[in-house]
């Protein structure tokens, strides 16, 4: 094709290929600056993500291994009373069946975070696709989708979840699809509103005027413009989905044994509270650190909206 190495095929002349950011009057690049709290939050989330990926290799025991004879042992080394040489070490004790708590939390990170991320991604795929479709697809499609969505949104999430699970039972795929569909309703609303805003803007009108197709407008104008607000919302939605799925698991209607899941771990070890065991508290703390951190990051990112006059003067 092209012999000149400086000009890959289809390259425009240098003057036209200048990027938007390099123009002399381009707005200053926005940089994401986090506060100290935000940085701590980011490292906590990163920590849990690492655990999700390398969990099985760093966990001292398998999630289903019953390693101690006693339930709710304290932290430390535990030796079998029948075979004194068989000892096992538990950093934060064991659960109600004598399984190593730390290992179960590490394995549980995979289930809890994996299911939640899968559901959030699903919710976004459904919600954003339909939301943009409603925004660009004309009044009829918009009204139809929005009314349908309104009906679903006006039921409490957990009630919808309970009815679905009462009807078809609970497996991990069902859980992901249920949570994904339930939360797609909210994503739909947000994506539709954002896309509608972009659709009525002057630059879209200009693009349509010079003959760009609908698909081009969606790809080049709508998606880049709604990406940032949606990304912030993704974090929030993830928190809600973690809370939702672990609440279902806590009710015994989410992830089923023998899989370890933070929500169901709190439930199954609840009796340990009376003995002052860490078993029900530790998984709850794990959930709390994760969700609080995500929330803090979202808050930090969206706090850069610039101080209004009233805020500064009062």
């Amino acid at each position: 094709m092209s012999d000149d190495p400086g000009h890959p095929d289809g390259a425009a002349p240098a003057a036209l290929s200048t990027k938007f950011e390099e123009l002399p009057d381009a707005p200053p690049k926005r940089r994401l600056r986090l506060t100290r709290v935000g940085k701590v939050a980011v490292s906590i989330v990163a920590f849990w993500l690492v655990v999700v990926f390398i969990g099985p290799w760093i966990a001292p025991y398998h999630e289903a291994d019953i390693v101690a004879d006693d339930s709710f042992t304290e932290a430390g080394t535990f030796c079998s009373q029948w075979e004194p040489d068989e000892c096992s070490f538990h950093l934060i004790g064991t659960d109600y069946l004598g399984r190593d708590l730390l290992s179960r939390i590490i394995y549980g990170a995979r289930t809890t975070i994996g299911i939640s991320i899968a559901s959030t991604v699903l919710a976004y795929l459904i919600g954003v696709t339909l939301g943009i479709a409603a925004a660009v697809g004309g009044v009829k499609l918009d009204t139809g989708l929005s009314r349908f969505n309104d009906a679903f949104i006006s039921m409490p999430n957990i009630m919808l979840g309970l009815v679905v699970i009462a009807a078809i039972g609970s497996t991990i795929p069902i859980l992901i699809v249920t949570a994904g569909c339930i939360f797609a309703t909210v994503v739909f609303r947000i994506a539709r509103a954002l896309a509608l805003d972009v659709m009525v803007s002057d630059f879209v009108e200009a693009a349509r005027g010079r003959g760009e197709g609908l698909w081009w407008v969606i790809r080049k104008e709508i998606l880049p413009n709604i990406a940032m607000p949606l990304a912030t919302d993704f974090g929030l939605r993830l928190v809600f989905i973690i809370l939702f799925t672990s609440s279902l698991s806590f009710l015994g209607l989410g992830v089923q044994p023998p899989h370890s899941d933070w929500g169901s771990m709190v439930r199954e070890n609840l009796q340990g509270l009376a003995y002052g065991s860490l078993a029900p508290i530790a998984p709850a703390i794990a959930i709390a650190t994760l969700t609080i951190s995500i929330n803090l990051i979202v808050d930090d990112v969206s706090a850069h909206a610039g101080g209004r006059l009233a805020k500064r003067m009062l």
């Binding site: 009815v163 809370l243 709390a288």
Partner: protein
């Protein structure tokens, strides 16, 4: 004009309730294996199944059963619990009997929680919004941010650990047996009440703060600041009245949130309320019971959302004239 908008909104609410009832009913229809199978369990021979289905009316077409069910619901005839739930007698009890006392318990719980948390959270949010970026505001913002992000059962387990296990002040299980005094009853309900209050308080205070700050950053407040109106006067004369609409909206929304909050809290404290009944029903797949409870919860939720929407229509003249 305004009343037409409100009526329209009420109409949408009624349609929504109808759609909810269809979905609730559809929930049973996709069930693999019906209630007759669950009731008979091991003894399910084809003849037994057919006989029981006939007796329960399960052999009629779905549409017929839907309208029968809807008619019964409208007359508050909730039908029979098919499978019978744990701790409340065998199968064949009427659902009204099961629900009656439990509905009262749940309403009592929700009522006390609302009575405590609504005034407290609105006050917290208002004060925080009046002094933005003050240490008090920062403390409120940070604490509530953390609290809204944790699951209800986290708050509940922590409270049990502190007040029931360590200090031994309050009972960890909220049994609603016969009580000698109101004080004794409240003591037994204390932990569920505190848990729900904490969660609700955080959410409401946060939203109230945001709503008031939103009003405070509107142009007419800037104008008032610039012309030198004293701060007290700005807040009391200009900001407060304009924040009433959003705040009522927030209260109604959060009371609607209580509907899902009670599910977790009643389960963790074994509180004999409606939500616990529903969760038990889900576990044994007692669909008529789940439907009845679900309809009560969803209806409450829809009505509260309706109230919150009407509050914002009435309070904001601009919403009365949609473009």
């Amino acid at each position: 004009m305004m009343w037409r908008m409100v009526l329209r909104r009420v109409g949408i609410g009624i349609v929504t309730l109808w759609v909810v009832s269809v979905l609730m009913f559809a929930g049973t229809e996709i069930l693999p294996g019906d209630v007759a199978q669950i009731m008979l369990g091991q003894d399910a021979t084809p003849e037994n199944l057919a006989a029981l289905r006939g007796a329960l009316g399960l052999d009629k077409p779905a549409v017929v059963r839907y309208f029968e069910w809807l008619g019964d619901m409208a007359r508050f005839d909730l039908g029979m619990s098919l499978a019978g739930t744990t701790g409340s007698g065998g199968g064949g009890t009427t659902i009204e009997v099961l629900i009656g006392a439990r509905l009262q318990n749940t309403l009592l719980l929700a009522g006390v929680v609302a009575a405590i948390s609504v005034p407290l959270s609105v006050a917290l949010g208002l004060v925080a919004a009046m002094f933005p970026t003050s240490p008090f505001d920062r403390a409120v913002t940070f604490t509530t941010l953390c609290l809204v992000a944790v699951p209800e059962f986290f708050v509940a387990t922590l409270l049990v650990l502190i007040f029931a296990v360590q200090l031994n002040w309050l009972p960890a299980i909220a049994t609603m047996r016969e009580f000698e005094s109101v004080g004794q009853m409240l003591r037994s309900m204390a932990l569920p009440i505190i848990t729900l209050c904490v969660v609700l308080l955080a959410q409401m205070a946060r939203m109230t703060r945001a709503a008031v700050l939103n009003v405070m950053s509107s142009p007419y407040i800037e104008m008032a600041i610039l012309k030198g109106v004293p701060r007290r006067r700005i807040i009391l004369r200009h900001a407060l009245f304009n924040a009433i609409g959003p705040v009522v909206n927030i209260i109604a929304l959060n009371l609607a949130y209580l509907v899902s909050g009670v599910v977790i809290v009643e389960t963790i404290f074994a509180f004999p309320g409606l939500a616990k009944l529903m969760v038990d029903g889900v576990q044994v797949r007692d669909m008529p019971l789940v439907q009845a409870c679900g309809m009560i919860f969803c209806a409450t939720y829809v009505v509260l959302i309706l109230i919150s929407d009407i509050a914002s229509i009435v309070s904001n003249p601009r919403l009365r004239h949609p473009r």
